[in-house]
């Protein structure tokens, strides 16, 4: 099992949907949060990457919510989800960003997390014994691959840097 796959088997449709709903909601909200942070700090280029991903996740959520409304989903406390990671695999940890983040750095960070999401669904598809779960998890993994494809094309367009820009005006401690 890779460190991004579920730490125990998910083998029923309601379980899969509950995890997908939590993961996609957190991803959409986190991208929104990061886009807002970057806009507040006048980082328009980086904000645009996160904003675009927020929109993608929200569009995906509309379909997912519609699908979920047809099932009784189990309730999970935040710490009961079967993520192998702390937060859900697609959500970028807040402490991974900084005001020095470059566009390239943002794309690379998002790529890591979209790949984690894809791995998560692919792992379920691989191990589930229920046919419906396998099919739906594969479909979700394919959707994540679309985001990966878009990010890979962004990365190809990015200039070389190490993911962070130099700060010409570093924070000054008050005297």
């Amino acid at each position: 099992m890779s460190d991004t796959q579920a730490n125990t088997a998910i083998d029923s449709l309601p379980e899969l949907l509950a995890h997908a709903l939590a993961m996609e909601t957190e991803a959409a909200e986190r991208y929104e949060e990061l886009a807002d942070q970057m806009e507040t700090h006048r980082k328009a280029g980086v904000a645009a990457i996160f904003r675009r991903l927020e929109k993608e996740e929200k569009a995906h959520l509309v379909e997912l919510n519609e699908m979920c409304s047809r099932y009784e989903l189990p309730h999970y406390a935040p710490w009961d989800f079967k993520w192998a990671t702390g937060e859900s695999p697609e959500a970028i940890a807040i402490d991974q960003v900084s005001y020095k983040l470059s566009v390239r750095g943002a794309v690379e960070l998002a790529l890591v997390h979209e790949r984690r999401a894809c791995d998560f669904y692919a792992g379920i598809a691989q191990r589930a014994s229920d046919d419906e779960v396998r099919i739906l998890a594969s479909q979700f993994a394919a959707e994540e691959r679309e985001h990966i494809g878009w990010l890979e094309s962004c990365l190809a367009d990015c200039g070389p840097d190490d993911g962070a820009i130099d700060d010409p005006d570093p924070p000054l401690s008050q005297e």
Binding site: T25, E29, E33, L34, D36, Q37, M38, T40, H41, E72, L73, P74, H75, Y76, A77, P78, W79, D80, G86, E87, A93, I94, D95, Q96, V97, S98, Y99, L101, P171, L172, S173, Q174, E175
Partner: protein, 280 residues
Amino acid sequence: MESCAQKKAYKAKDYKSDLKPIWCPGCGDYTVLNSITRALAELALPPEEVAVVSGIGCSSRIPAYTSVYGFHGVHGRALPVATGLKLARPDLTVLVTGGDGDGFSIGGNHFLHACRRNVDLTYIVMDNQVYGMTKGQASPTTSPDWEGSKLTPEGTGINPFQPLVVGLASGANFIARVSASDPINMAQIIVEAIRHPGFSLVQVLSPCVTFRPEQAEWRDIVRTAVVDYTDDAARAARRLMTDDGFNVGKVLFKGSRPPFRPEFEHTDGSVAELEARFAL
């Protein structure tokens, strides 16, 4: 996991206001806000039955970013305001949020007496060992050799304040330390803190990425505490004596002291009646 019948009615987002936080990207306080809202959703507390009270500082901005009742008060005075609110409105769940400067310098005396009084409050202190909002001065929890501020170029040379030791000695009824690098664990501990009666103290190692950039390393330094909580204050004190400040993720102490909950005679709530009670 609970059954469908127990499905919760609130989402974490329901507890956030429309105001966008202006913290520096990467600041630990974002994570604390997210953990608080996750905890409130898990407890399914109606927003109108919750209040968040704070003083002044970056960390003290939390009430503005929540949809529950909020009071962004005077520097160092969050605890007395929250105490008054809880006594007047015992039906509310009252959280207090703030920083190490707000809580342990200017508000230090209130901290001692809030622990001693043991009113049913949950105090979440975002400890970044610095005054973030005023651009990086040493706070009571700063280590003596930190040379990052021009006000203390050779460090303060003063032993840091130990919030959990002081909290325990002063009578706090619930004590825990968590890390902003583990938001899910933090949410779980906040749920426990709110559920536990009396004064609950939660110290959050919440990096100030701007004035203490080296705190980014906390993520790798912290370790999950190996022992579970005790209800024996002497044992908790002994554990704290050998603690280096980086044991996180578990409750350290859960006491059983009954919360301070004075019963007031029934009044009609009028100012005239209040004046009559306090007339000399």
